[in-house]
Amino acid sequence: MDVAPGLVAGGEDLCGPYLEKLPITGAAVSLFGGATAETLVCASDPLAARLDELQFSLGEGPRWRAVRTRLPVLIPDVQAVEHTDWPIFHKAISGTEAAAMFVFPLTVGAMDLGVVELYHSVPGALGRSGQATAAGLAWQTSWHLLRKILTISSPDTEPALEAALMSRREIHQATGMVLAQSGATAADSLLLLRAYAFAHDLTLRQTADAVLEGRISFAPDTGGGRPGGPLLQ
């Protein structure tokens, strides 16, 4: 099941602000699209995209530490230092223009939404002010991504209604219920809700209400359904 349908819209420059406000060369924003897939939302240049791709396919690199710790990972001199955590990635990027790498997790509440990966062709630290700026931008990107997740484009959803969805506590409450039922992470639970809504031509709010009222359960043992699959009761 594609759990992130319609999340990547064309023509959107989420990377731009990072390049504008920070002493860096390239940026990539990557969104976790559920348990299996992940989506590169934007990359400012081919190397930025390559750095993201490499870490994803190798399964190692600073981004994984950022995801695990939910903290920024700052490497002022990525070429020089041997990293025991990511030896293959280190080898793979040697000789590229990436001299410094800074990875920031994208989180809202308990949800890990993705990462933003920045690189600089010149080695050196980001500095305290740069770190604060990057963290602030990452926060904005996180909420932007959350808004996109909560917004399902359909002909019968008015823009005003979609905007109001953002402040719907019920969606976050339902996310918590799905999390408790399915054992999935918070972000995956929200994406499960979203995928269910998408597949059944419902709004996210309608789906959330159905979960809160017990009409839909994402518990694996609700009988008869495939494990982890939502059931209409």
Binding site: V108, M111, G136, W139, Q140, W143, G176, L179
Partner: protein, 236 residues
């Protein structure tokens, strides 16, 4: 004497709020304290607080009741209504008689159905920056007294300062750690309520009470407790 008693209560409320400036505090606890103290001190039936998220949309961060009806009224306000206007203009917005309102029909209907007949929205601002608004709802038509209005604004000011205290003026991005934390905490707490509702088999209001009681009994912040519930290391 009544005035002394009131002055004392007002100063106790300020001490409570300013305590958070020195201690390692939970920002949502602060905001809940703010709305509760405000209702305790002023002649209003309910209070709610909205803060702007990074896209400038107002989110309901704290309210004197977690009951969905009050939140619903505030959410409707977040679309359009006195709090939005207050946030947009940075000035207090007073609706003395909601029943006589000609604009904001959705807000009017929702507020009246909850028995609110007046609203006084005060801005949360620091210098030129407006971060949100607090709505004070009255059960009868009529304005707040001048004194009540001033106390309401002063309480909002103290909360704003404590939210903004760590802001570094030099940063090119106008965001603040506490503000980020407040908005993130609110999402986390809703998620935790959902988890509790499922595991304990209770409604959302009761789920919030369980969460808050546990946090208080263990001297934890709401954020910390909610976080452990969502990562499933704590079950209530």
């Amino acid at each position: 004497m009544a005035t002394t008693t009131r002055a004392e209560r007002v100063s106790v409320a300020f001490v409570k709020l300013t305590d958070t400036l020195v201690a390692d505090y939970d920002v949502l606890d602060l905001l809940h304290t703010l709305v509760e103290e405000t209702v305790g001190l002023l002649d209003v039936a309910a209070a709610g607080l909205v803060l702007a998220d990074p896209s400038g949309e107002l989110q309901v961060l704290a309210s004197t009741s977690e009951q969905s009806q009050l939140v619903e009224v505030l959410q409707l306000q977040a679309g359009s209504g006195p709090c939005v206007e207050c946030y947009a203009t940075g000035r207090a917005v007073v609706v003395e008689d909601i029943g006589a309102l000609e604009r904001w029909p959705d807000f009017k209907a929702a507020a009246l159905s909850q028995g609110f007949h007046s609203v006084h929205a005060v801005p949360m601002r620091l210098h030129a920056r407006i971060i949100g608004a607090m709505g004070l709802f009255g059960a009868t038509p009529g304005p707040l007294t001048r004194e009540d209005a001033a106390i309401g604004q002063a309480l909002a000011d103290v909360a704003t300062i404590s939210l903004m205290q760590e802001r570094t003026i030099r940063e090119s991005v106008l965001v603040n750690e506490q503000l980020q934390r407040a908005l993130n905490s609110r999402v986390l707490i809703e998620q935790a309520k959902g988890v509790i509702a499922h595991t304990a088999g209770v409604g959302m209001e009761e789920a919030f009470n369980l969460l808050r009681n546990h946090a208080r009994a263990h001297s934890e912040g709401l954020h910390e407790t909610a976080s452990r519930i969502v990562d499933r290391s704590l079950t209530l």
